[in-house]
């Protein structure tokens, strides 16, 4: 079959696919992410607190507050319709809120964990309780957000915190447990002061390179082999586009927080030793007494199971559970595996604890 110019249709189709592939490589994949309807109920500096709207009946009075890391975009938890953890929780009858830290500017270089944990989070919790009318809430932290959630829980262990869910949350940063990051962030090879002095914040491309270089063949080559394969077979799937967009959209990390992350966590492992201080307050994980669900992926190359598991021996909770899932860092929350494993696991655990 030929088109009006006399060229075979297959050839034009090939050109179109080639053009799309090149465009995706050059400009990055485009996808409509974070589509679940939501209302911004609070803002402070760049941070926003979302309250997700749902037609589904609210079955559980205890709202769930999701917190993600400072290093990437939070919409990974609400990727695309049909592949969204937020959407799933709403469908299961939970009242869902998410704290999005936003994209820090140069003026935010001095934001540290003190600001995030002692200023932002308590304020957000008050907003969630006021907005939902609930007296207690569930805190869900993913990746660095999990570490932050654990720190919050240690500093504010009593009511209103009802449950704590940690997903791929690094707690133990000992070099033998943190593999390449442990090596890269060691005192010998990393000087966060210099980065902070030079750039203020850790530039987004540097933050991206720090993650992508852990698996350079997969991230710099494999992703695009898959892209061409999908293109040649039919077309890029919405899931691939969304994932590629998210992976290539890092955010700068505030310099002061990065400095603490490297020096206090990776280099001195203060959290596990009970030596981490926030404005003179010791972050003692044994203060955590609420029910805790701790999840990790056995293929996670960013946060290893041992790093996440360490919290189990440090917290004072009696109701605690550690679950290892067959997934990588991102595969834990999105994709077919997450729909089958993580999402129902979290929902089933939360249901009886959200009455």
């Amino acid at each position: 079959m030929a088109n009006e110019n006399g060229a075979p249709a297959d050839l034009w189709d090939l050109f179109d696919k080639y053009a799309e592939g090149v465009k995706t490589i050059v400009e990055g994949a485009q996808a409509d992410t974070g589509q679940t309807p939501k209302e911004v109920i609070w803002t402070k500096n760049k941070a926003k607190l979302y309250h997700y709207q749902s037609q589904a009946e609210k079955k559980h009075p205890v709202p769930v507050l999701l917190i993600y890391a400072l290093v990437n975009r939070s919409y990974i938890l609400d990727l695309v319709p049909g592949n969204s953890f937020v959407e799933y929780l709403l469908h299961e009858g939970f009242d869902v809120y998410m704290l999005d830290w936003g994209v820090p500017g140069r003026e935010d270089k001095d934001l540290s964990f003190e600001n995030y944990i002692l200023d932002y989070m308590p304020r957000v919790v008050n907003k969630v309780l006021r907005n939902s009318g609930a007296e207690e809430f569930t805190l869900f932290g993913y990746c660095m957000g999990g570490t932050m959630a654990a720190m919050y829980a240690a500093l504010f262990p009593d009511k209103p915190l009802k449950n704590l869910v940690l997903l791929a949350a690094p707690i133990d940063f000992a070099p033998e447990k943190s593999d390449l990051y442990g090596l890269w962030f060691s005192e010998k090879y990393q000087d966060p002061d210099m980065i902070m002095e030079t750039f203020g914040n850790v530039p987004a491309p540097l933050a991206y390179a720090g993650t992508a270089t852990l698996r350079p063949v997969d991230n710099y080559v494999g992703a695009y082999v898959t892209m061409w394969d999908l293109l040649m077979q039919e077309n890029l799937t919405e899931g691939w586009r969304a994932m590629n967009k998210w992976a290539n959209e890092p955010v700068p990390v505030p310099g002061a927080a990065f400095k603490q992350w490297v020096q206090d966590f990776y280099q001195q492992n203060k959290l596990v030793k009970g030596e981490f201080m926030l404005r003179g307050r010791r972050v003692d994980l044994s203060n955590i007494r609420c029910p805790v669900l701790n999840l990790a992926g056995d293929k996670d190359h960013l946060v290893f199971c041992g790093q996440a598991e360490a919290v189990m021996d440090l917290i004072g909770s009696e109701d605690k559970e550690f679950v290892v899932l067959d997934a990588g860092h991102v595969g834990l929350v999105m994709g077919r595996g997450a729909k089958k494993n993580l999402w129902p696991q979290v929902s089933n655990w939360l249901e009886p604890r959200s009455e």
Binding site: R106, R123, W184, V217
Partner: protein, 240 residues
């Protein structure tokens, strides 16, 4: 650097500043760069320029010493460069052999035979070689030489970025044009204002909540007052 010299007026002073700020990073870039004498790669020229300006100009002997030193340091730098390359080749050789074996197994003698479709060819080539190359990358990323180079690259980049940023700030500042620092300062003020507004909002919310609780208590008092009124009325009726 000579005291009191204004930057940007004297080319030699400019060169010295550039050298002072960047050479440390250059000199220690390669592994092992911390050891041995550091040397400006352009030292002979620098000495020559200095000599042309200064009254106590460097004599030919002094210049010869400088050249000799320069040669030695250049040689050592190249030696380190070759050693680093050899170290990488050492890591790469077994992985290349592994990749070649996989290509042989999966593409040439495999059940599906040699792929005719170009996309299929690249896909199978990737599948055959990705694991050995991923292992090679992993080996390299843990290697002392790589870690040293990457640290020094970052140091070096930071130094240059810092110099460029400061120079730009100064240049545009002299032209009375707003710079990134100005916008950052402005943004910082807005963030502070936002923070204060948020605190006021929080106080108002607390106040509203407390007021709500007081209103609830007042309603309770109203009810007690009603009861007391009824009781008084009943007592007066009784006594009448």
């Amino acid at each position: 650097m000579s005291e009191g010299t204004r930057p940007g007026t004297d080319p030699l002073e400019l060169w010295r500043r550039w050298y002072d700020a960047t050479f440390e990073a250059w000199a220690t870039f390669l592994p092992g760069g911390d050891e041995g004498t550091r040397m400006d790669p352009f030292a002979p020229y620098r000495r020559l320029f200095e000599g042309m300006q200064a009254e106590d100009a460097a004599g030919p002997e002094d210049l010869y010493e400088t050249w000799l030193h320069w040669m030695q340091v250049t040689f050592r730098t190249w030696q380190r460069f070759v050693e680093t390359g050899m170290r990488f080749a050492e890591l790469a050789a077994p992985r290349y052999a592994e990749a070649a074996g996989e290509v042989q197994k999966q593409m040439l003698t495999g059940e599906d035979g040699f792929p005719k479709d170009p996309m299929e060819f690249y896909k199978r080539l990737y599948n055959a070689t990705s694991k050995p190359f991923a292992r090679l990358a992993d080996d390299a990323l843990r290697d002392e030489a790589y870690l040293e180079i990457s640290k020094r690259s970052l140091d070096y980049y930071s130094v240059f970025d810092g110099i460029f940023r400061r120079a730009s700030e100064q240049f545009f500042g002299n032209l009375r044009l707003p710079t990134v620092s100005d916008t950052t300062q402005m943004a910082g003020l807005i963030v502070n204002l936002d923070d204060r507004v948020d605190r006021v909002e929080e106080m108002l919310e607390d106040f509203e909540e407390r007021l709500g609780r007081v209103e609830e208590k007042l309603e309770g008092l109203d009810r007690i007052e009603d009861k007391l009124d009824r009781l008084l009325a009943a007592t007066s009726e009784e006594s009448a």
